[in-house]
């Protein structure tokens, strides 16, 4: 029974029947059998297909749009000009006209027949060259974004025994969701819109439609069963969501589907900003960090790129840093798993590794020596102790002591092996969420929540908590999510979902259980407080005695179901907390003749409070490491300096890691006392942060020199080694 002083707590380990266990995800069978329906799979009766005319220029003004031929083509139902004459276009691929037709081919034929004239304008793409003339010129692409001084950096550098200098960076990358962005919009009457949309924000997206289409938000019905990846890029209705609704209206309200083509998905449906930085770090001979200086710049399209947190995690007392946002004519940035953290971590941990090499010190010792500078601990969270423990565990798992060698001492032969380390952090406090849980007289249990399962295991976690709390099997509960007609739940971003849905589910389930027990206690001649529910049986909780099945208990409800609607209390919510740390270590081999890097092993040791669903939590971390391997070694949004278009808007040359590229992967969670009491904390972001830096550091350790810029492709490795002949793309 729940603690009466604080009704809402997590059960202690010995009372958890499901929480923390290895349960297969509940929607697994639907997914593996192709039955799970994604937005892309939805076929509405009479559905039309949309195709989009896109601007081929990175910066242009629309002069004229001629749709007359297209309008008369067979199968065309409606044409809508999205950005008409006079509009300024700021990136190639931006939407100009949408055509809705009876099938994709008819729509494509019509789109081809639309003539658009443009006045091309000068464009700017170069985010790599260090900014000059940052302020002053009104049309400068450069804008100072952040400038901070802490302590006395000048004196601290003077006091330093060793100062390490370096340049570091990684390019713009894209989300590359396998299910592209898009929706199916239909008007059920003049002012009611029904939308199937691939979104991370089922409960929140209606407002955007309402604003753009001038209808009440309550008139916008949003539905999504499954989503094929978002990674931070699918929060809004998007321009294409709005015009899908607009062209549907023109087509008499018929359902219209617009899913982005792969090239559009990669070109304009979100990117992660680059980072380029010059860094100086000063330290005492013993590795005590004294001073940090960074001049960084980045782009994420027309809005530039924000300042990553630097120095990352390790808060060096004396700092001077400046960041410049570079505005470019590429598709705009969107949140990308742990926004800004991987970039800040890469720059910081690379600089630390270089410093350690200069000090002839093991970088792990350097981190441990300065770990007290990690952001302060709180009453409930010993952050510094967590990092220390994680680093020790990670080094055991990768056998750091045996396998690490001083930089460059990787032996003879062309293939060199090296190890690298990084640490990371994230907040991950749960978002607002409301759970509606009903127990019906027929013994059925239903949960409704306007959340979404991105593949993180949200469905599974909700059911595990509810079933654990109610004392019944998960299969007895029907879970309905993915619809904005259900009680609202926050968007799935920033690793906020698990905390959000867990707290509201636990509250609702605790309350519903209490109501049910209160209802049946008199019939058992007991107090509700004396009862427990175990495996679907209501029984006395202190000694054997009368028992009642779940079905019998529910039957006693008569005609009135129990319906509990509980919110996550947000800032006042005590079932959840914020702030986690993790340590990553990577083991790589580098062929110094070809510059090709091969992953041997990656280890991530992570805390995330109370783990609800162990299997899906592990999957999150495996996925974060795998995604980061691709980011580190392969991914780059390559923009053509001549045409201003993306050169690799496909999956041949926008390269993801394959199953053979990822090496051995190890996940270790910090659990038990000191962690569990904090409640569930989000996990999607943190583990995405460290691997990039750990791998880059492992490469430096292997080959003896820093490969300053990602992705770590053969040209960059060879250039760093001084093996390249003549000009290359490495730009070192």
């Amino acid at each position: 029974m729940a603690d009466q002083t604080n009704k809402y707590t997590w059960p202690p380990p010995d009372q958890r029947s499901l929480i923390g266990k290895r349960i297969s995800r509940v929607d697994g069978p639907d997914k593996v059998s192709g039955r799970a329906k994604y937005t892309y799979d939805v076929h509405r009766q009479g559905m039309l297909y949309g195709k989009v005319v896109r601007c081929p220029y990175p910066h242009a003004k629309v002069v004229s749009v001629d749709t007359t031929v297209a309008e008369k083509m067979p199968g065309v139902a409606a044409i809508h000009i999205v950005q008409g004459p006079g509009t300024e276009i700021n990136w190639a691929g931006d939407d100009i006209v949408v055509v809705a037709a009876i099938d994709e081919r008819a729509a494509a034929d019509a789109a081809r027949a639309i003539k658009v004239e443009y006045e091309t304008l000068p464009f700017f793409l170069d985010d790599f060259t260090p900014p000059e003339n940052v302020s002053g010129r009104p049309k400068s692409p450069y804008k100072k974004n952040d400038e901070r001084i802490a302590g006395d950096p000048d004196a601290a550098f003077k006091d330093s025994d060793v100062v390490s200098e370096g340049v570091y960076g990684c390019p713009v990358i894209t989300h590359c969701c396998l299910e592209s962005h898009g929706s199916i919009a239909e008007w059920t009457d003049d002012d009611h819109l029904f939308v199937h949309i691939s979104t991370q924000n089922v409960s929140g997206v209606a407002g955007e439609y309402s604003g753009a289409l001038k209808i009440p938000a309550g008139n916008v019905h949003v539905h999504q069963d499954h989503i094929g990846g978002g990674f931070g890029s699918k929060f809004g209705a998007d321009r294409w969501g709005i015009y899908t609704a607009q062209v549907s209206k023109k087509a008499g309200g018929k359902p219209v589907r617009v899913m982005l083509e792969r090239d559009a998905e990669l070109t304009l449906a979100g990117c992660r900003p680059s980072i380029w930085a010059r860094v100086r770090v000063g330290a005492k001979k013993d590795g005590t960090l004294l001073a940090w200086q960074s001049d960084s710049w980045s782009t994420g399209g027309p809005g530039g790129g924000g300042a990553p947190p630097m120095p990352y995690v390790v808060n060096i007392p004396n700092q001077r840093k400046q960041h410049v946002a570079v505005a470019t004519n590429i598709g705009p940035a969107r949140a990308w798993r742990a926004p800004n953290h991987p970039q800040g971590c890469l720059v910081t941990m690379s600089a630390f590794e270089d410093l350690a090499a200069k000090l002839n010190m093991d970088p792990l010792d350097l981190l441990l020596k300065n770990i007290h500078l990690a952001a302060p601990s709180t009453d409930t969270y010993n952050r510094v102790g967590t990092y220390r423990d994680e680093l020790v565990i990670a080094s055991d798992l990768i056998d750091w002591k045996k396998n690490w060698h001083p930089r460059g001492q990787a032996g003879a032969g062309p293939v060199k092996r090296g190890l690298g380390v990084a640490i990371h952090t994230w907040g991950g406090r749960g978002h607002m969420s409301t759970c509606s849980l009903s127990i019906n007289p027929d013994a059925s249990v239903e949960i409704k929540m306007g959340t979404q399962d991105l593949g993180t295991g949200t469905r599974t976690a909700i059911l595990m908590i509810a079933a654990d709390t109610l004392g019944i099997p998960m299969e007895w509960i029907t879970l309905k999510i993915g619809d904005n007609q259900y009680p609202p739940s926050g968007g799935s971003g920033g690793s906020t979902t698990i905390g959000g849905v867990s707290a509201s589910t636990r509250r609702a389930a605790v309350d519903a259980r209490e109501q049910l027990l209160t209802k049946v206690a008199p019939a058992m001649n007991l107090e509700a407080a004396d009862l427990e529910i175990v495996r679907g049986t209501i029984r006395q909780n202190f000694s054997p005695g009368p028992a009642m099945t779940w079905k019998e208990a529910c039957a006693r409800l008569g005609t009135q179901p129990i319906v509990v609607v509980d919110p996550n209390l947000g800032a006042r919510e005590d079932l959840i907390s914020s702030g986690v740390g993790g340590a990553v270590m990577a083991d790589v081999s580098v062929d110094t003749e070809t510059g090709i890097v091969k992953m041997n092993k990656t280890v991530c040791v992570q805390d995330c409070g109370l783990i609800i669903s162990m299997k899906t939590a592990e999957s999150q971390v495996y996925g974060a490491m795998i995604m980061s391997i691709a980011t580190t070694l392969y991914e780059e949004k390559i923009m053509d300096p001549i045409t201003g278009r993306m050169l690799n808007p496909n999956m041949d040359f926008y390269r993801l890691a394959g199953i053979g590229d990822v090496g051995e992967l190890v996940v270790h969670f910090m659990t038990g006392k000191g962690y569990d009491e904090r409640g569930p904390i989000g996990l999607g972001e943190p583990a995405t942060v460290g691997p990039m830096a750990a791998i880059a550091n492992a490469v430096a350790n292997a080959i003896g020199v820093r490969v300053p810029f990602l992705p770590i492709t053969p040209d960059r490795v060879l250039a760093a080694l001084g093996n390249a002949q003549g000009g290359s793309n490495a730009r070192v």
Binding site: G34, Y40, H43, E104, R105, G229, I626, M627
Partner: protein, 223 residues
């Protein structure tokens, strides 16, 4: 919430698109209008080519399209009929005509593997083959391998080892894995690297997939 969207239509046996002309079914699937008369030559096929004998011929060659034409596909053991332009890919026919949406459209250029199906038991990218081109072949989609409650061992292994996150690459991966294990019942890690190299996952489920392959492999060993 009774007004939630109903489930999509159950597998219509008939195509939902209307043609602008009468379907031209005949015993061969072709009518007289579907032949093109050509003049050509015949040549003996040399194994090692040298001057070859030529003879003028008048030939009739089957030609269909460019408009819609009746197409019959054998999918998961069932004959499915649709009236399609020749330019419709197998993937689009499966998804848009037959409500078999397990195969996904991701890259649509034969690179990512999400559209993987079996043609006569061998894996193929259904985005890169025309529907009209696979008449007469046995097409198996992920739906044909198993269903919830009656999963194929490979599907069950994917569930048990959480070899999926968002799940969009999963059906293609399941089909590829099934065919891979048919060929390599006891695969080595090296064989897995190459034999499952034709499918990409963005969420990063390869650890689970490797474990699933291990479970589904005959030996049940974990790779």
């Amino acid at each position: 919430m009774d007004d939630l969207p109903e489930k999509p239509d159950k597998k219509p046996k008939q195509p939902r698109e209307e043609t602008d002309e009468e379907p031209r079914f005949s015993a061969s699937g072709l009518s007289r209008r579907d032949f093109l008369k050509i003049s050509g030559v015949t040549a003996a096929a040399p194994l090692v080519a040298h001057a070859s004998a030529l003879a003028a011929v008048e030939e009739e060659v089957a030609v269909r399209g460019p408009g819609k034409t009746p197409v019959t596909l054998s999918v998961n053991g069932k004959e499915l009929h649709a009236i399609l332009e020749p330019r419709v890919t197998l993937l689009d026919a499966l998804r848009d005509q037959f409500e078999l949406t397990g195969a996904k459209r991701v890259c649509d250029r034969g690179t990512c593997g999400a559209c993987t199906v079996l043609l006569d038991g061998k894996t193929a990218y259904s985005c890169s083959v025309l529907a009209i081109d696979v008449e007469g072949r046995q097409i198996t989609t992920v739906e044909g391998l198993g269903e919830p409650g009656k999963l194929h061992p490979v599907q069950q292994a994917f569930v048990d080892n959480d070899a999926q996150q968002c799940g969009f690459c999963t059906p293609g991966f399941v089909v590829a894995t099934k065919a891979f294990l048919d060929q390599y019942p006891n695969p080595t890690p090296e064989q897995i690297k190459h034999g499952l190299g034709g499918n990409f996952c963005r969420c990063g489920t390869y650890a689970g997939i490797r474990a699933a392959v291990g479970q589904a492999a005959k030996t049940g060993k974990v790779v």
